[in-house]
């Protein structure tokens, strides 16, 4: 019987240093969350490099014309990580930076989960988990029908992969051999209640996706170079959709947030805590 090595059942360690831009994006996330005093900080921190590599180096888009038909589609299926997405979309000019200061406010467009039609650059409303991959499949099939070179990127989470709908979609993507579909799993091994190993183990995760007909790669999800190298090799196998299992750390970048489930979703952040967060991210 095959069993996962003991080490995989412990909390992950990642010592990849963050460069100035990754720290700056995290500082932006801290300041945004402080305006609402609530949000999924740990979930956003684990996601920063995944979204950064997409928006900095991979995706085709026109921030001044977010519905440009030739764009690549990017769906943040783990909608609760939206603070990282908002920081990048604002940085790229999809909407004015000032919107960030209205996060979760009644006169703002940026809520605790991203909404299509409200936020320029958001392709689909997400928040309830397990929806984004099927929507992405429809978009990828449409791109194939239209003979468009647009690709579809779907960013999912490990907790999200508890949902049966993710695996319905996985079957479907494999069946249709969607080479233009790329999934990135933010695999930080923590969900709300505890580790993914304790709550609902996904291992062996790469074998699962391979069995569903995907080309699979594993990367350090905080290494821009590893992420970029993998994305440049997509599709990994001819006639297959691709998935990148991104090994990440929940709360990556701040020592007292990393792997700390008290920071999965915060409903109150004191001025002192904000100061400590920003101080670590200044270094």
């Amino acid at each position: 019987m095959r069993t996962a090595p003991t080490s995989i059942k412990t909390l992950p360690i990642n010592t990849t240093p963050l460069d100035q831009r990754s720290r700056q994006l995290r500082r932006q996330i801290v300041k945004t969350i402080k305006t609402a005093n609530r949000g999924h900080l740990g979930s956003a921190f684990s996601l920063v490099e995944i979204l950064r590599v997409l928006y900095d180096d991979v995706l085709k888009y026109d921030a001044s014309n977010p519905r440009w038909p030739g764009r690549d589609r990017c769906i943040l299926s783990k909608g609760h990580g939206c603070l990282a997405l908002y920081a990048l979309l604002a940085d790229k000019g999809f909407f004015p930076q000032g919107e960030l200061w209205k996060f979760c406010k009644s006169d703002g467009i940026l809520g605790g989960h991203p909404e299509f039609g409200k936020v320029p650059g958001v392709e689909a409303s997400t928040g309830s988990l397990g929806h984004g991959l099927s929507i992405g499949i429809g978009m990828a099939l449409n791109a194939r029908y239209e003979k468009s070179s647009s690709r579809v990127f779907v960013v999912t989470s490990d907790g999200e992969s508890n949902e049966g709908s993710v695996w319905e979609a996985a079957l479907c993507a494999g069946k249709h051999k969607l080479e233009n579909l790329i999934v990135l799993v933010d695999y930080n091994k923590q969900q709300s209640y505890g580790t993914t190993y304790e709550v609902l183990d996904l291992e062996p995760l790469t074998d699962k996706w391979r069995a569903f007909g995907f080309g699979v790669r594993e990367v350090d999800g905080h290494s821009m170079s590893e992420l970029l190298a993998a994305l440049r090799q997509t599709p990994f196998e001819p006639g297959k959709p691709s998935i990148i299992i991104c090994h990440t750390i929940k709360g990556k970048g701040v020592s007292f947030v990393e792997n700390n489930l008290n920071w999965h979703h915060k409903t109150k952040i004191s001025d002192e805590e904000e100061g400590l967060l920003l101080a670590e991210l200044e270094r």
Partner: protein, 316 residues
């Protein structure tokens, strides 16, 4: 009616490249011609309703118009959240075709009966609910579903249902149709209940009660103007539906009547399936008989209420 619906999807798709079809795991040969002639717009995705709806949303977000088809109870219950969020929240042009609305699958038991499908979807913003009476009406209705804004649920009956509407009659989504005029009572129906409503009206006429019949093939948005206009003229109103009396046409009618604050007291009753999982097999007709959803029962109910209305003793 099912054949008329799917034939229409095929005909409409031939002349409109925006139209796509997604089925779950339908009977062999379903839309064979569609698949042969337009394979790139035909999908059969297996017993995976959540994925089918999400995929339809993906196409619709790209400007396509998707007809998605499976058994009514699975397209309403099984993937409710996908319908609510992927379709209704995004307000997309996806048309859900539900086979076997109501008690059609009586022999298959409660797992296959769609008796609260309308209630489920009535609660969703942006959703339009259509329950035509027969194949004629289906043929007139389908072309109008193409460009209608937002998602639509199309409730199919068994097939071979009696034809009661005119081949060339009018149809408009959101409009009720007064099939019979009358000043003594009003029967409001949707879907295949129309034939029972009309038979009941004949039976009541023989008893001296001039009974109007208002057919409401669009259950949402309800044509409240037509309903209030008809209801205002009569002392007795009865709704008839092949659906639980909780949340369907009868509830929709009751909500409108309750807020109308008529100056004269009205007698009102909903005829439909009680709040229970049907405990027998048999046929669609035998289950309807069990729950007194028949022209005789409608006739009896209206006559009783009319008798009460004439009597000074009552709830007034």
């Amino acid at each position: 009616m099912r054949k008329a619906c799917l034939d229409s999807v095929y005909e409409l798709a031939k002349s409109d490249e925006r139209i796509f079809f997604i089925g779950s795991d339908l009977g062999i040969g379903t839309l064979k011609q569609f698949k042969q002639e337009m394979p790139e717009r035909f999908f059969m995705e297996g017993v995976s309703e959540a994925n089918v709806i999400g995929m339809a949303a993906g196409f619709a977000l790209e400007g396509k118009i998707v007809y998605a088809n499976t058994i009514a109870t699975f397209i309403t219950r099984r993937c409710f959240e996908q319908v609510a969020l992927d379709l209704c929240l995004h307000n997309l042009k996806v048309r859900l075709i539900g086979n076997g609305g109501g008690l059609v699958y009586a022999p298959l038991g409660p797992t296959h009966l769609a008796i609260e499908d309308i209630a489920i979807f009535r609660a969703l913003p942006h959703m339009t609910i259509l329950a035509p009476a027969d194949a004629n009406e289906m043929r007139r209705m389908m072309p109008l579903t193409v460009d209608h804004p937002g998602p639509i649920y199309i409730r199919l009956a068994k097939g071979g249902d009696p034809i009661v509407t005119n081949e060339n009659g009018p149809f408009q989504i959101g409009k009720a149709f007064l099939m019979r005029e009358g000043t003594d009572a009003l029967i409001v129906s949707c879907g295949v209940m129309l034939v029972r409503a009309l038979d009941a009206a004949d039976c009541l006429r023989a008893k001296g009660l001039n009974t109007a019949v208002l057919h409401m093939p669009t259950v949402k948005p309800l044509d409240t103007t037509a309903l209030l206009d008809s209801a205002d003229r009569v002392p007795v109103i009865v709704s008839v539906e092949e659906h639980t009396t909780i949340g369907g046409l009868g509830s929709a009618v009751a909500e409108v009547l309750a807020e109308a604050n008529f100056r004269k007291v009205k007698r009102f009753k909903r005829i439909g399936i009680p709040d229970a999982f049907p405990d027998q097999y048999g046929t669609q007709d035998s289950l309807m008989a069990r729950y007194s959803i028949s022209s005789e029962a409608i006739c009896r109910t209206v006559a009783e209420l009319a008798g009460e209305a004439e009597s000074p003793i009552g709830h007034s």
